[in-house]
């Protein structure tokens, strides 16, 4: 990350990225080919801020250079990180990050649920799937982002929930990832999060 | 390790108070300190005192609620420490202001009040730790140790700054050597009281002396002592370089001593 005085990310780009992550965490991207990944890289290259940033660029390069071996082990690594059956190496649940043992369905989950309710939404299988799975949070963000008048709500949700834990989530992926694609997504998400923080909070990017 | 902010806070605050009293006293007695030198020393003490306050906040779970810490002044020594030390820092700023405005009379008055408040702050600070729950702390040696840190580091700090400015007119070595002798006696008292105390105190003594930090602490102390002893009679040695070196040695020594004070605090 370098000095970015003006952030060129329009609403469309932001929505595209949130939707990309939403698809990723839904498990929609498991069957893509190397060509699909290269196309994605090309699309992402149109976003200047992203490919000018260190991790954004690394992520895009990784999409470009996806090998057949990477594709083969992608799903296994993805499952090891987010699905199971083993102890998840990078839990996709917010409440995991608010207590030491990573117990799910805790107070945080209920707070997220209440936020959905406030906006007139709920998880389709409420009670069966923890409401604070990143997939739902991303879908919720897309929903808010798509309506201009929901700006303040979106800011509140990002600041109170999404921003609070997704950095740590990315750190855990980086620590445990054994696959270039899962790593690329962690980089991309990390970078995007920084840009979002600047847009939402108008503050300085967190330069590490 | 999680008490590190407290180590830094106590040592720096005691240094600041000791330095302040020295400055105030020299200024009152000799009136030879120039305005700019006085301002420099006074400012640097305010800065040290301020850093101490900031660092102490890191020890808190809720640093932004630190202001509440004065609420229980009626019974809590910690509350008193915070209040009096806060008062001291405030007064030292005022005192600096009077240096800036070059108003010796007011300076002397405010300095006197700040000296008393500062002494009470150190006293309160020591009282916090004199608790039966931690036998190694629960002794008057804690009180001595806290004041001695002030007396060892404060004058030396002011002395070396004065030496830098070429305005040193007092034999700092003499003052310091007496405080070091007192510190040595207190150290002996401290360990013998630990040895004859409760099992937790005995264990604290063992933990302290069985750690290499203790030997660094002792070594720096002895070297500083030796240099200062030589410099008492040797005017040539009473220069800024030597005092800076001795100050660094003693700062390390006091810092490590305080570090061990916290680290070896065995609970009942």
């Amino acid at each position: 990350m370098t000095k970015l005085t003006v952030i060129h990310m329009d609403q469309g780009d932001r929505l595209l990225l949130y939707q990309l992550f939403w698809h990723y965490y839904r498990g929609d991207l498991m069957k893509l080919t190397t060509i699909d990944w290269a196309n994605l890289a090309e699309l992402l290259r149109t976003m200047t801020v992203l490919c000018e940033s260190e991790f954004g660029n690394q992520a895009i390069t990784k999409f470009d250079e996806v090998s057949e071996e990477t594709l083969e082990s992608f799903v296994f690594d993805y499952n090891r990180l987010f699905v199971g059956p083993n102890r998840l190496h990078a839990s996709p649940y917010e409440s995991t990050y608010s207590n030491f043992e990573g117990t799910i369905m805790q107070q945080e989950t209920i707070k997220v649920r209440n936020f959905y309710h406030y906006e007139g939404l709920q998880v389709a299988d409420e009670g069966q799937y923890p409401d604070d799975h990143i997939q739902y949070e991303l879908e919720f963000i897309c929903y808010l982002l798509n309506q201009n008048e929901k700006g303040p709500d979106l800011k509140l949700f990002l600041e109170n929930h999404f921003f609070k834990w997704v950095d740590k989530h990315c750190e855990r992926i980086e620590e445990h990832s054994q696959n270039q694609l899962t790593l690329a997504f962690a980089y991309l998400l990390k970078e995007f999060l920084q840009l979002e923080k600047i847009i939402i909070e108008g503050g300085e990017p967190n330069v590490n | 390790m999680h008490d590190l902010p407290l180590v830094i806070f106590t040592v720096l605050s005691q240094l600041a108070i000791g330095g302040f009293v020295t400055l105030w006293w020299f200024d009152r007695k000799n009136k030879t300190i120039t305005r700019s030198t006085g301002l420099i020393i006074s400012c640097s003490l305010v800065v040290l005192g301020g850093i101490a306050v900031l660092v102490s906040l890191f020890h808190l779970g809720q640093p932004f609620a630190a202001y509440r810490a004065i609420l229980n002044i009626k019974v809590s020594w910690l509350s008193r420490e915070v209040t009096f030390y806060g008062g001291f820092v405030g007064l030292s700023v005022l005192y600096t202001w009077f240096w800036l405005k070059d108003m010796p009379a007011r300076r002397s008055l405010i300095g006197g009040i700040a000296t008393i408040i500062g002494a009470i702050a150190i006293f309160s600070s020591a009282k916090i730790y004199m608790i039966p729950a931690i036998p190694a702390w629960n002794s008057v040696t804690t009180m001595f140790a806290f004041f001695l840190t002030s007396i060892i580091l404060g004058p030396l700090f002011v002395g070396l700054l004065l030496a830098f400015r070429g305005e040193l007119s007092v034999n700092i070595s003499r003052i310091s050597i007496f405080s070091l002798i007192a510190a040595a006696i207190v150290m002996i008292l401290y360990f013998s009281s630990l040895q004859s105390g409760l099992p937790q105190a005995v264990e604290a003594a063992r933990l302290t002396t069985h750690h290499f930090i203790f030997w660094i602490r002792l070594f720096t102390f002895v070297i500083a002592f030796a240099i200062l002893s030589l410099s008492i009679k040797n005017k040539a040695m009473c220069n800024a370089k030597i005092y800076s070196f001795v100050f660094v040695l003693l700062f390390i020594s006091e810092f490590l001593a305080r570090f061990q004070f916290y680290e070896t605090a065995n609970h009942l």
């Binding site: 469309g12 780009d13 932001r14 929505l15 595209l16 990225l17 939707q19 990309l20 939403w22 698809h23 839904r26 498990g27 929609d28 991207l29 699909d36 196309n39 994605l40 699309l43 799903v75 296994f76 499952n79 090891r80 699905v83 199971g84 059956p85 083993n86 102890r87 998840l88 839990s91 649940y93 995991t96 030491f100 043992e101 990573g102 117990t103 799910i104 369905m105 805790q106 989950t109 209920i110 209440n114 959905y116 309710h117 007139g120 939404l121 709920q122 998880v123 389709a124 299988d125 009670g127 069966q128 799937y129 923890p130 997939q135 739902y136 879908e139 919720f140 897309c142 929903y143 798509n146 | -």
Partner: protein, 733 residues
């Protein structure tokens, strides 16, 4: 789905290009449905309470009250309406919220590419059923029967509806079954020979006892609710005697503790009997009216047993044996509780028969507050309607084939005609709990398909091909009874099943549906059914009368728990024994038929081999039941790793200090763990408690051989394992 709708509506640059580019079809996703408009009726802050039953393999089988707020469990505690549970749970039960919401739970059906590789892919339930069903049908086609399919299921969940797994396998044809129990077989057979069945008094009757001997039982750790009654009795003046090789937590509470040499309890009982006979302290009326073979037994004892010999054999001083014998024989009623641990020896059954005889000659059997209490199954008379569908037509083979659960690995490898090719594992963790885990692994290696239904990733799941996520008791319905107390507890569904978890019953129905789709008529198990109907079907008139309830639903509405009526709570009250003679059989022809001596005679204990002179016992641990509970975070926060208890004398001999790492080894295996120096264990014995610890890659069974107990075939089909006849050597690591 919302996102689709709004993308279509606004067609922002991003969504359009992304969808076009990746050609994303939502239909291909396994993801659950996303966000939907909130249902009108939803309200927050709703607090409900449900009755649950702890289904673990435990004496106490507690009735539970679960508090649920907004569909989330917030507190789990005991049911006050149950006078045995008394409104409180043991330490393990208190961790249930963590069991449900543990991050370690298995969430989705998954398939492993390469057994043990850790490369898992997520599959749908339909795919899972399809893979399994196809394999079943292929096996049936190739071998002409389903005998190559082996079920290994046991005590992880004793909910009556969980027998659906057995039922489902019976419904596909004749299969191979892991038979027997590692728990109680020798002792149960012994009581079967003596009295016709094991049958225990209501544990709440400890309060009525005048004298209590806990013989190799440690209820302070394994049955905290019984311990309450025992302590209460003690405070009212009942004498509590504990006989055990170890100073257990229970022994620490005893009025008198007697340290017996392990596996010589039979000699101690016979020594006491000799004294009682010599001093005419036995109940002549009782034996003459209610038993057969007493004279033969009497002459055996006179001829072969002396108190001096017993003292020599057991390490218990002669005066102590005599005093205890006199006290026991003269107290009325006197209560004996035989622990399962005591019979996990090569002479376990014989020892239980000797202790039974002690209770019989003193007339303590059939008395309220007395008895020789071991285990009971009087309240288990459910319909087991999940098991009754029978093999479909055209099933090959004639009957199920059995392998001994206690020597599972070796017997699976030995099974040849036909060989075993597929394994279904439920409510069990054989890789951690079986003896000789290396042999078990070899058996696993021979399989074409291993399906494991479990809650957590464990050693067994690691070596499976397909893992099926199962529900906790709080996510499914059921009914439970105990093998110890006399209560029946309903289990309501308190919360929705998390993720894609299913109960064993739902899995059975799902698989049957798939089998019938692929090949109609290939499985007789019903393909649909409401679990509430299923559980109601378990209740028959006898059960309803015994517990005085109208239905499961009636019980659910009325406190969730019911006690059996008093007609059965005193074991053998009518003195009509279920033996061939109808009497207590000191002389058992049935025993002889099974190759044992007909009398409760002394049988030698297993002798330590020269190179492994130290006995290693692996008793139950207070923070776990077998491989359950100990790995939960709240319990790991109390004790984070296993340890080996060593007597100071032995430790000194081996130059081991407290907390030193110790290597424990024998011909079966070895492991290294920290030492705890304590006088609680004798100097010729070390103790490693049973359990599965998170992050620890060994279990107490690494050194355990599949050494057989003396009994078990009569009532349990197979002999048990002499877990405590495990000999090792230790050294400082």
């Amino acid at each position: 789905m919302l996102t689709e709708n709004f993308s279509r509506r606004t067609f922002l640059k991003g969504s359009a290009s992304l969808s076009a580019l990746l050609g994303l079809g939502v239909a291909t996703s396994q993801a659950p449905k996303g966000l939907i408009p909130k249902a009108q009726a939803k309200s927050n802050g709703k607090v409900e309470q449900f009755y649950n039953a702890c289904p673990r393999n435990c004496y106490d089988t507690c009735s539970i009250v679960t508090t649920v707020e907004d569909g989330r469990i917030t507190f789990i505690t005991g049911n006050e309406k149950n006078t045995y549970t008394k409104g409180r749970l043991c330490v393990k039960g208190n961790t249930y919220p963590r069991v449900v919401y543990s991050p370690d739970r298995i969430k989705y059906p998954m398939r492993q590419k390469g057994r043990g590789s850790g490369n898992w892919e997520r599959i749908s339930w339909d795919e899972a059923y399809t893979i399994i069903a196809k394999k079943i049908l292929a096996i049936k086609k190739e071998y002409g029967s389903t005998l190559p399919i082996c079920l290994n299921k046991y005590s992880g969940n004793f909910n009556i509806l969980n027998y659906a797994t057995e039922g489902m396998l019976s419904s596909i044809g004749y299969t191979t079954r892991a038979q027997g129990t590692p728990c109680d077989p020798a002792g149960s057979d012994a009581q079967g020979f003596d009295m016709g069945a094991p049958y225990n008094n209501d544990p709440e009757q400890f309060l009525d006892a005048d004298y209590i001997i806990l013989w190799g039982a440690n209820p302070a750790w394994t049955s905290a609710h019984s311990m309450y009654f025992i302590e209460q009795a003690k405070e009212r003046g009942t004498k509590l005697v504990v006989i055990d090789p170890l100073i257990t937590q229970t022994a620490s509470k005893a009025d008198e503790y007697i340290q017996v040499k392990a596996s010589t309890d039979g000699a101690l009982a016979l020594g006491m009997i000799r004294y009682i006979l010599d001093h005419q302290l036995y109940d002549k009326n009782w034996v003459s009216q209610n038993s057969i073979g007493f004279n033969e037994f009497f002459s055996y004892v006179k001829k072969n047993i002396t108190v001096e010999w017993a003292a020599e054999k057991t390490g218990v001083p002669k005066p102590v044996i005599e005093r205890i014998a006199r006290e026991y024989a003269t107290a009325k009623p006197a209560n004996i509780w035989i622990g399962f641990g005591m019979q996990r020896h090569v002479n376990g059954g014989a020892m239980v028969r000797a202790i039974d005889a002690l209770a019989a000659i003193t007339g303590n059997i059939g008395k309220k507050g007395g008895g020789v209490n071991y285990i009971g199954e009087e309240t288990w008379g459910f319909n087991y309607s999940t098991m009754g569908f029978g093999a479909p037509e055209g099933s090959g083979g004639e009957a199920d084939r059995y392998v001994n659960m206690n020597n599972f690995g070796a017997q699976v490898l030995d099974a040849n005609d036909p060989p075993i090719k597929m394994m279904w594992i439920a409510c069990r963790n054989p890789m951690a709990q079986d003896p000789e885990p290396t042999v078990v692994k070899k058996a696993f290696d021979q399989m074409d398909l291993i399906v494991t239904a479990d809650l957590y990733m464990n050693k067994t799941v690691e070596y499976s091909d397909i893992v099926l996520p199962v529900t906790t008791p709080f996510e499914s319905v059921g009914v439970n009874v105990s093998y110890w107390h006399y209560w029946m507890n309903v289990n309501e569904q308190a919360i929705k099943p998390l993720y894609e978890t299913k109960s064993d019953l739902e899995i059975a129905m799902g698989l049957s549906k798939k089998l019938n789709q692929l090949k109609p008529g290939s499985c007789t198990f019903p393909v649909t059914g409401d679990p509430l109907d299923w559980v109601e079907k378990e209740m028959n008139d006898d059960i309803k009368a015994l517990f005085n309830v109208k239905s499961w639903d009636d019980l659910r509405k009325n406190g969730g728990t019911a006690k059996a009526n008093e007609s059965i709570t005193v074991a053998w009250k009518d003195l009509k024994f279920r033996t061939p003679s109808g009497k207590y059989e000191f002389y058992s022809k049935t025993a002889a038929e099974y190759g044992h001596h007909p009398l409760p005679i002394f049988t030698e204990e297993y002798k330590a081999p020269k190179e492994y002179p130290i006995r290693c016992m692996s008793p139950h641990w207070k923070f776990g039941i077998h491989s359950q509970f100990q790995h939960q975070d709240w319990l790991m926060a109390i004790q984070a790793h296993p340890f080996l208890e060593i007597h100071p004398d032995l430790a000194k001999k081996k130059s081991i200090r407290d907390q030193d790492m110790v290597k424990i080894i024998n011909e079966t295996g070895y492991m290294t763990l920290p030492a705890k120096i304590t006088k609680m264990v004798p100097a010729d014995t070390v103790v490693m408690y049973e359990g599965w610890w998170k992050g620890v890659n060994y279990t107490e069974n690494f050194t355990v051989k599949a050494l057989q107990e003396d009994m078990g075939e009569h009532l349990k089909g197979q002999r048990g394992i002499a877990f405590h006849d495990n000999f090792v050597n230790i050294e400082k690591a």
